[in-house]
């Protein structure tokens, strides 16, 4: 088997395991990454929401916020894990497509 084939399989395994990145923090009661708090958390932490932050934080509405589906936030871990896997697949397909496109534009033809 070619090494690239093995690595693609490895990526597939990582996609399936990706919900661990959701489940483990939940299990160990870990919150957001440092400096990545939402407005509510910010209010709790410092007692106010910085004005500039409040304005800019809604600058962009991501279609799959936090690797999940909108409206599914309260649905529980199995649903969130499913959305997480779909997000991983979608993200990888798009990343790979863009890199191959860039690669095609930049890379030298093999002699």
């Amino acid at each position: 088997m070619k090494i690239t084939t093995k690595l693609w399989i490895g990526l597939g395994i990582l996609i399936i395991l990706s919900p661990l990145g959701l489940i483990l923090p939940e299990h160990f009661k870990a919150g957001s990454a440092w400096g990545e708090w939402g407005a509510d958390e910010m209010q709790k932490l410092v007692g106010y929401i910085p004005k500039g932050l409040q304005k800019l934080s809604s600058f962009w509405n991501a279609p799959l916020p936090d690797y999940g589906f909108k409206g599914w936030e309260e649905k529980g871990l199995p649903h969130l894990s499913f959305a997480y896997i779909i997000s991983a697949i979608l993200g990888i397909v798009i990343v790979v497509a863009i890199v191959i496109l860039i690669g095609k534009m930049l890379a030298k033809k093999d002699e």
């Binding site: 990582l14 500039g52 890199v99 690669g103």
Partner: protein
């Protein structure tokens, strides 16, 4: 380490976009000269790996979370300029599609994770593994050390960018406009958690994959083999 929208003021955001534009342009030129068509799938795998490894949030029990970036590994296999492009693509998709990292902070996030991280990691790996055969243990250790140092440096930079906001922007009443924590909090928080936990995750992941590649495909690790 993905700075969201709103944590950096316009000056910082603009500064890092301005800094990254020539880096991206230069990276494309270098990659155009050096990347062979048969390496493109490997570059795509590298970008995909970086994308998905960042989804593995590692918890500090009762505290915050963090993750590896995988960027040093991509740099070791394909060179730092190619890694810069691969990680940039991963970060832009994360920001646009998943709201992980802000749009206004893409310049800063790319500077930390797609530029400083792969470059520091790559040259440190080169220095430590200098002259070592492709299948030597020194390469595995070099990869681990390089990954650990590079991730921590990127985290320290992120902490610096957070911390400087309080110096740059304040309301008349002394309230923060953007990131509300100064250097005294942001730097130890970012550096501490990466030194203690997330740096090790990056180191172990990088070293294990290098070990695996030594067994499966050592030609990927040969000097000048890329």
């Amino acid at each position: 380490m993905h700075i969201p929208d709103g944590y950096l003021g316009p000056a910082t955001c603009g500064f890092f976009y301005a800094l990254m534009l020539p880096i991206w342009a230069f990276a494309s030129r270098i990659v155009k000269k050096t990347l062979k068509a048969r390496q493109v799938p490997m570059l795509a795998i590298g970008a995909a790996f970086s994308f998905v490894i960042m989804m593995f949030n590692v918890p500090i029990p009762g505290g915050s979370t963090g993750h590896a970036v995988g960027g040093v590994l991509v740099a070791i296999l394909l060179g730092p300029w190619a890694a810069c492009i691969a990680i940039t693509v991963a970060l832009v998709v994360q920001a646009l599609l998943f709201g992980d990292g802000g749009i206004t902070a893409i310049g800063a996030n790319c500077f930390n994770m797609a530029f400083v991280l792969p470059f520091v990691g790559y040259y440190l790996y080169k220095a430590i593994s200098l002259g070592a055969p492709a299948i030597s243990n020194r390469r595995v250790i070099a990869a681990g050390i390089a990954a650990y140092v590079a991730l921590n440096l990127a985290a320290a930079l992120t902490g610096f960018e957070f911390g400087i906001q309080l110096l740059l922007h304040k309301t008349a009443t002394g309230q923060a406009l953007y990131c509300p924590y100064g250097f005294n909090v942001a730097l130890p928080a970012m550096i501490g958690e990466h030194l203690l936990i997330f740096g090790w995750v990056e180191a172990i992941v990088t070293a294990l994959v290098i070990k695996y590649l030594q067994k499966q495909s050592p030609e990927l690790l040969k000097e000048g083999g890329r």
